[in-house]
């Protein structure tokens, strides 16, 4: 296992400068940076191995198919599930659309779908569309005043309404909160509620063991976990997964096609029509291989310490308000300064080389509940270090001086 401190060197972009300053990349919740190993695997694929997968008999095609299917094993092992329970998609958004489409076929006007107030739009709008189609009702779990999920209230709401589906983020992208999904899933088990976990923000930081979690579905995006853009996937408990209707159709997913009728393969094949994102899937496997070389507990310890340091220094600046759960957090600070607009803060921070997000973070309903129109969000990953925190804090102080 590697020393976390040395890992930063594997990320070539972190050496770059932004606006004449060394880059201080604090936007990993939007997308993670990529280690050389991932970049090299993609490059080598196109330089020496590129081929379409599946129906090819030639060696290039066989090798590409082997890599593509081996990647499924790699991700399955990472999540502690079976390879046939992994479906590749273009990302978490598509995974959630696929599930909302598939799971809503069984719903009607008496059905209920529960989500949390912290959800990313990708875990809200597809369910709203499902409700529109079926007449089902959308329930929102309660939140405590300090921007933390009301766990007891949530469980009691679930028990009262017995929703057909609970779809909830493992980690809030806007605030970094780690939600107590273990207890929610447990409650759902007794109620017959199917559980969908949006793992976009937890895949890399928490590496969940899906057998221990016991959820029915789990979705993720490669680009948020050191992998390339345009690829992601989902886990589905096989018996549930295989009975879902197809979402997209086309080549490769079929058993037989006539003009009158077509029959489909079993999952996961039937959910993967057309040419997949081959280099993307292989790149994601390289990212997971990379993560497998880091001790999860060491990584979490490192990220937690860095987060605590950042949080503490931020809290020392008068006028700063930090939102969300600062106890259970993957390393995201979401904040405002006095009445200054997050747009102004982020724009000025950028002049110091600091890359943060500002705005509603695709979580407008949450922002409404927090009574803000947005926040500045600095999000950490294991390749950040104390120098980044210092860089950020200094830039923020200078920014504030400019504004005050």
């Amino acid at each position: 296992m590697t020393d976390i401190h040395s890992l930063r060197d594997d990320f070539p972009i972190l050496d770059k400068s932004l606006n004449g300053q060394p880059l201080c990349y604090l936007d990993s919740a939007a997308t993670a940076q990529k280690p050389n190993k991932v970049i090299d695997v993609i490059k080598t694929f196109y330089q020496a191995e590129n081929s379409n997968v599946h129906r090819g008999l030639h060696t290039l095609s066989k090798n590409a198919t082997n890599r593509y299917e081996a990647a499924r094993e790699t991700i399955a092992k990472f999540l502690n599930v079976s390879a046939k329970e992994i479906v590749w998609t273009s990302g978490a958004t598509e995974s959630l659309n696929f599930l909302a489409h598939g799971l809503s076929q069984a719903l009607n006007e008496n059905s209920k779908i529960a989500i949390s107030p912290f959800e990313h739009h990708a875990n809200i709008v597809p369910w709203q569309e499902a409700c529109k189609r079926t007449g089902a009702q959308l329930l929102v779990l309660p939140m405590l005043e300090n921007g933390v999920l009301d766990e007891a209230g949530a469980i009691s709401l679930l028990q009262t309404h017995k929703p057909d589906i609970l779809s909830i983020g493992h980690v809030s992208n806007a605030l970094g909160n780690i939600h107590p999904i273990e207890s929610l899933i447990k409650a759902c088990k007794t109620l017959g509620t199917k559980t969908v976990i949006d793992g976009a923000q937890s895949f890399m930081h928490l590496r969940p063991d899906l057998v221990a979690l016991d959820c029915d579905f789990y979705v993720f995006s490669a680009h948020k976990a050191l992998g390339p853009t345009g690829v992601g996937g989902l886990y589905g408990r096989y018996n549930l997964l295989n009975t879902l209707p197809v979402y997209k159709t086309g080549g490769e997913m079929i058993q037989e096609v006539t003009f009158a009728h077509s029959t489909y393969r079993d999952a996961p094949g039937k959910f993967e029509p057309g040419t997949p994102n081959i280099s993307g899937v292989i790149g994601l496997a390289a990212a997971v291989d990379y993560l497998n070389n880091i001790s999860p507990s060491a990584l979490q310890r490192y990220e937690r310490a860095l987060y605590q340091s950042l949080l503490q220094q931020l809290n020392q600046i008068k006028g700063v308000t930090v939102y969300g759960d600062t106890q259970n957090n993957v390393g995201i600070v979401s904040f405002n300064y006095k009445n200054e607009h997050h747009y102004d803060l982020a724009t000025l921070l950028n002049t110091y080389g600091v890359a943060v997000r500002s705005g509603h973070h695709c979580a407008q309903p949450l922002m409404n509940m927090l009574n803000v129109n947005g926040t500045v969000r600095a999000s950490l990953a294991f390749y950040n270090n104390e120098a980044d925190v210092e860089h950020f804090i200094n830039a923020l102080k200078a920014t504030i001086e400019l504004l005050d």
Binding site: E340, H341, Y343, D344, T347, L348, G359, H360
Partner: protein, 135 residues
């Protein structure tokens, strides 16, 4: 405030922080929009920050009248520049005018990027559209 003044001030400010300081000062000179005019229909969509924009024609002078405000200081400053550039132009002059060239020469072209959060581009596009309509 006129565009020569703006150009001078910006060219004298070295470094982005100094530039933004000037831009925010331009914004301070822009009159605040009365609350009653900060209505949804005047919002420019495609901005993360709120931007209210009114484009009208002074019939007698045949000149564009622009009123705008934003809830952010930097965007408000950029609005001040845009207004200084367009105000007093006839619709014809405005439709010939290139805000891109102006922002380029001011070193602010990155603010006209297609990034959705930004919205300055959306503002300029909307003014151009209205100018074309009035021309």
């Amino acid at each position: 405030m006129n565009i020569e003044n703006i150009t001078k001030k910006l060219s004298e400010s070295h470094g982005w922080q100094a530039k933004y300081r000037e831009i925010m000062l331009f914004g301070k000179q822009l009159p605040e929009l009365p609350e009653a005019l900060k209505v949804g229909s005047a919002l420019v969509s495609g901005c993360d920050s709120k931007v209210w924009l009114y484009v009208d024609l002074d019939e007698s002078a045949q000149q564009l009248v622009l009123i705008a405000d934003s809830d952010t200081r930097i965007v408000k400053g950029l609005l001040a520049i845009i207004i200084a550039a367009y105000a007093g132009k006839t619709p014809e002059q405005a439709s010939q005018f290139s805000a891109y060239t102006l922002f380029e020469s001011l070193g602010l072209i990155s603010h006209l990027s297609p990034s959705r959060g930004n919205g300055i581009r959306a503002i300029v596009d909307q003014i151009q559209m209205q100018a074309n309509r009035l021309a």
